[in-house]
Structure formats: structure tokens, C-alpha cells
Symmetry: none
DNA sequence: TATGAATGAGGTTTCATTCAT
DNA sequence: AATGAATGAAACCTCATTCAT
């Protein structure tokens, strides 16, 4: 006799199931307001099972952060290292980061809302990884500024923070049921960025 | 014998002192992770005193939200209703919202990190107020689009979300000890916005 | 309406009551095997009340250790500093330490059974205090050896460990309902010690 | 690929290895504070393996008690049944019990610290065995008292408890790296006992 | 003979809040 | 206007043990 399980999708392994459920609940209700009991109930396992795979509730959060960073970094590297003129590469990166963010909106919501709840060490690690990410885009902009393709009266750093701010807040308003797709929003955002960089 | 009080500034009334301390702690550590005990300890009062002035811990958070909304709305109305061409008014609003945000950075950090912890009714209220704010800026952009001053191939709504996203993330990276002042960042951000709207 | 309380002795304050109940239970069943719930149930308070006065279950144990050390040290100093020939003072100390131990048998049982469960810092502190105690008695013996009253072919240190070992194990066999009183056992033990020290 | 194992001594069978590791950990940290996971990790086996050989964690403790009792009883019988005057036999028994105790110090530490954690039935059994042990020594003393070799103004029972107390506390202070060997301490203790029994 | 995922009961602790004073 | 002892619900986590393989 198998127990009925909410969100049971066939044979999805327990750790993945827990992570999936936790991600949804953390995004919907908030990390601290979601109890371990709620997570395991929705995942259809017991607390003991969860603690068999994850050392703590914090570990779940850490794992989500790790996953986000891996995914985003991989996508970005790909776009940034493509060939073509710098404006095209930047446009591509910008549009892609929006699409990726929208495709993993729960992760993004959690990311910026709950960073302060991570263990300080993990926080440092996450920040370092984000800085690498940020830096990679800054280089693109600086390259365009050096070659005269982009205006150079705005610090490249500031432009990155400006654009990523816009991206990171997608979680606040973007609606998957809305009329604009993630890709469409990506195009618009990339256009706005590129146009604001015209010399 | 009076107890030593952190941040004791002479005769600041108890409610104000509690609100000030709570704002700092919520921004530094997070709302859920800050206990009422910590707040009253740092404010140099007892729990009974706090519950005399505030009905609950949530009330403190609500109060902070109310304050933020009042301040930002007032500043914005002023800038938006000034005279001058629409691009100038938008530039002024944009620069000002950045400066105001930076001047109340703790509030902003709390705002976007802890909204989901408010009582649903209060959340609805806050969202409505923000929508009015958002709408006021959207009108400015639409006005510019109608009069041909701004490009009209980008939904005004989207542009507002784009720009406010950048503003709301200031709390993540802006550093008061850094080399750029809030006003300077406001100028840069407003420039970037206006330039991205060129037809 | 006052709640019925097991072990309610009139107006004994809550902290004392908790400590008294905890001491009994720790001695009867063991520290780790006694739950906080059992303690507060028997003391007639809630868990919250206990944590209002004691930071943790470990704190209860620490407090018991502190009390034991204070009591024993005070009694011993008094006996050791009395006047009279050295053999008389040693006899008096020896008899007294037995009587005190028997009078606080629960404390003694806990002391030697649960020391390893204390926080390492507290353990260090307890050990240091015991060493002072041990040292005070060693001096008495050494004094007797120097003056030729006691044999000197046995290290004074070893004699102290020998005798205190006997005392500390009283908890294993001494029975308050038995035919020998604590004072009587103290006399016997002191006699045995003194006689084994005859030159 | 085989896992690294702490204390792996070639082909020591699994049950012995588990018992050896458990003994060390129980003595170092305490029974209740040592988890089955720690034991099997250090022994380089899995939990399943442990439960294959031992019915429960308690069984490990029981086994240790059984081993201690067998060893000590055997040694003592031998010494007590030797020929020679009673004072010589008692001296021999006393010295030997110290040496045996020191040679199995971990066992002794566990014995007196964790007896209360045994299953009541096992406790009864252990106590009965100890009583037989105790009784055997008491008889020696009584024999000496009857024959006028020992003083008879001290209950033989009490003398046994006195001496065994000293022995059982060796675990508290005896240090194998110290300057006195177990045999040497045994001689001293036996001397002190015999001398305190002089008429 | 051995694995290790999973259980489930129970443990300690935290904390917003109340209330007699 | 303020105290602080006390509540009680709920949180996170541990762990000996079982069982299908």
C-alpha cells in the first residue's frame, strides 16, 4: 500500500521532490514562515527522511542558492563568450538573463528575499559568486566603452547594478499568465539597456 | 540607577525610539530573526512598554511601511507636479526617487524583503498605494510618448517596472561610504532612463 | 484559582522548586534520561517558566554543580582551619566531608555521574575548584608527614585520592534508611584513614 | 575502494571492533551522548552490520558490563583462593583489583557512570554479581577479624565499601602517562588498607 | 552478511503575547 | 506608563531502530 502523495510525479527521487516543494513554498510564503512539517507533508515524506538527505532546513535554502548560481552562471558564460560585435553580445546576455530569471522565478524571489538568512559563510560564498557574474557583464560594457561603441560618461559598474536591479525585481511583478513572455520582456529590457548606452 | 541604553539620544520618546531601533534591526538581521526581546533591550525599555505602544510585533513592521509610503509619495507628488517639459519632470522624479531611497535605505531593504510577512490586509493596502505611485510615473511616460518626446515602442508599464526595479535594488549594493552620493547616483540613473527613452 | 502542584511546599519560589525537583530526578534517573517536560511537570510549572529562569537544561546541571562546590568548600575550610593537632584536624575534615556528602547524596551522585555532560568550560572550572579542595587536604597530610605524625612512605596526593575515592562512592551504597548514620560512617572512615597513616 | 577506518587493525572481526570502538567512545564521551552512527562510522561499518551482531545500543553496554564482570571475578577468585595467611591474601586481592581496574580503565569509567542506564533486569543482574564479588572480599576481612589478625571494631562491610570506593574512583584521576604504574598504586592502596586494619 | 533509506516518537528550545501588579 | 513572570503553541532536530533489497 503506497501512501498518497501531494505533488507526487511518478518516481521523482525524494531529495529532488523535497527541493522542488521547498522552493515553491519558500517563494510563496517565505523561508522562515514555512515549517519543515509543511514541506515534508507536501512532499509526502517524513521529517526523518528529510533530515536523512539534508542536514537542516538551512541546507535546503543553501541548496537552492547553489542551484541558482550554477544555472545562471552557465547560461551567462555561454552568451557572453559567443562571437559577434560587443553590442550584440551584451544584448544577447541581457535578454538571456531576463529569460532565465523568468524561467526560474521562484528561485529569484527566494534569492533576494532570503539571502540574509543564510549562514554567514554561505552568504560570503554566494556574494563572491555573484560578483564574478557581475564582473563578467561589467567587462562587456567596459569593452564597448573602450571601443567607442558605448558612452563612457557612466561608470560601467553602475550600469550593471542598474540593469541587474531591474532584472532581479522581475519576481515582484512578472506574471507568467500575463501577456508578455519572458523572452519578450528580455528583448525589451535589452533594448532599453543598449539604447541607454548609445554615445 | 538608570540602565545604559544603546542609541539613547537624550529624551527621544519611547515609541520613536522603538521604531528607530526596530528599523535598524529588521534591516540588519531580518524581521523574523529579530526577537521582540532584542528590540526592547536595545531600546532600553521592557516588553510591557512596547506592548503599551504597539499592539504586536507586526504593528512595528506595519508602521515602518506606513512611514515609507507617506514619505515617498509626498516627495514624488512634488516632483511630478512641478512645471517644465515632461522629460524634465520625469528626470526630476527619477533622480529624486533614487535620492529618497538612498536616504532611507533601511526602510527600502525591509520593504522588499519582508512584504510577504505583513498581514494580508496590510499587504493589499501597501500594494494599492504602490500602484498609485507606479501609476503616477507611468502617466508621465505615457504623456511623453503621446507628445512624441519618448519612443513609443516600449510599453510605459514595462519601463516603469524596469526603472523601479533598478531603484529598489539599491539596498543590495549602495554603500553610504562609497564614492558616489545618492544624488549622484540619482543623476546617473535618471540619465540612463531618459536616454533609453529617446525615440 | 491555584493549580495543584506536585511537590508544592507552600511558597517556595519557582527557581528553587525547579532546582530541587531537577536534582532529585537527575539523581534518580540520570540527567540525559530526564526530560525537561518531566521536570516542569513535577515542579508544577510550564516549560516557558523554566526557560525564563534557566537558559537551558544544561544550566540546571551547572547550577547544581555550583551549589555543591560552594557548600563543600565552605564546610571543609571551616574544619581544616580549626585549631588542634594536625591529626585531629584531618580526622575532623575527613569525618565532616563524609557527613556533608551523605547529607547531599543526590548532589554527589549527579556530580560524579554527569560531569562529562557539562559544557567543557564549566568542566574546567569544576575541576579547578575540586583541585583546590583536594589540595587543601593534601596540605594537611603533608604537614603531618613533615612533623612525623604521619608515615611518609606514601605520597600525600595518593592518599587524598584514596580517601576521596571512598567518599565519592558513598552514593553507590549508602542508604539513609540503613543502620549507620552519615556521622557514624564519617567517624569510621576517618578512623580508617588516620590509622592507615600511622608511621 | 574501501573506506578508511579509524583504528583498523587488520582483520579484527566486526563484533570485536564494534565493542572496542564503543568502549572507547562511551568512556570518552558518555553512553547517551554517543550515537550509534558515531560508533559504526569509527568502526568502519554500517548500522545494518551493527544490528546484525547486536540487538540494540543497550546490548553494547550490556556486553561491556558482562566482560568487565567476567574478567574481574576471574582475577579475584584466583587471588583470594591462593594459599598463605589471610593478610597476605587480602593484600594480594587488593593490589590485584587495582591493577586490573587500571588495565581496563575505560570499562571502569563506563561501569560507574552508566549503570543507571542499563535495563532494570540487567542492572539487577549486575548488582548481584557485584555483591558476590564484594562478599568474597568481605569474607576475607571477616576471617582476619575472627582470627584476631584484623581489628574488629569496624564492620567488615564498611571496610569493603571504603576500599572499593577508592578503587572505583581510579577512573577519575589515574593517568596511564603518570609516574605511578597501576601495580605501584595497587601496592600502595593495599598497604593503606592493611595498615588501617591493624588491631 | 550487509546496506542505507526511511520511520516516528520524543527531545530541547524559542518566542510573541498576556496579565496581575 | 510600565514591569517581568509566566504561558502555550509550535518550531527544528536527533536518533535508535526497521526493512526491503
Amino acid at each position: 500500500m503506497t501512501r498518497a502523495r501531494t505533488g507526487d510525479t511518478g518516481d521523482e527521487p525524494v531529495p529532488q521532490r523535497l527541493l522542488r516543494v521547498a522552493t515553491r513554498l519558500f517563494a510563496e510564503r517565505g523561508f522562515e514562515v514555512t515549517s519543515v512539517q509543511q514541506i515534508v507533508d507536501e512532499a509526502g515524506v517524513t521529517k526523518g527522511a528529510m533530515y536523512h538527505y539534508f542536514g537542516s532546513k538551512d541546507d535546503l535554502l543553501s541548496e537552492i542558492y547553489g542551484r541558482v548560481l550554477r544555472v545562471q552562471m552557465a547560461r551567462m558564460e555561454e552568451a557572453a563568450n559567443s562571437t559577434g560585435p560587443v553590442w550584440q553580445r551584451l544584448h544577447s546576455v541581457a535578454a538571456d538573463v531576463v529569460a532565465t530569471t523568468v524561467a526560474n522565478l521562484d528561485d529569484t524571489v527566494i534569492f533576494f528575499r532570503s539571502m540574509h538568512l543564510l549562514h554567514p559563510d554561505k552568504q560570503t560564498e554566494v556574494r563572491a559568486e555573484r560578483r564574478r557574474y557581475h564582473e563578467r557583464v561589467r567587462e562587456l560594457i567596459a569593452e564597448g566603452q573602450r571601443t567607442g561603441v558605448f558612452r563612457d560618461d557612466k561608470p560601467a559598474d553602475l550600469v550593471v547594478d542598474y540593469f541587474f536591479g531591474a532584472v532581479h525585481h522581475l519576481g515582484t511583478w512578472f506574471n507568467n499568465e500575463g501577456e508578455l513572455s519572458g523572452e519578450r520582456v528580455g528583448e525589451h529590457f535589452a533594448d532599453l539597456l543598449l539604447d541607454s548606452l548609445r554615445p
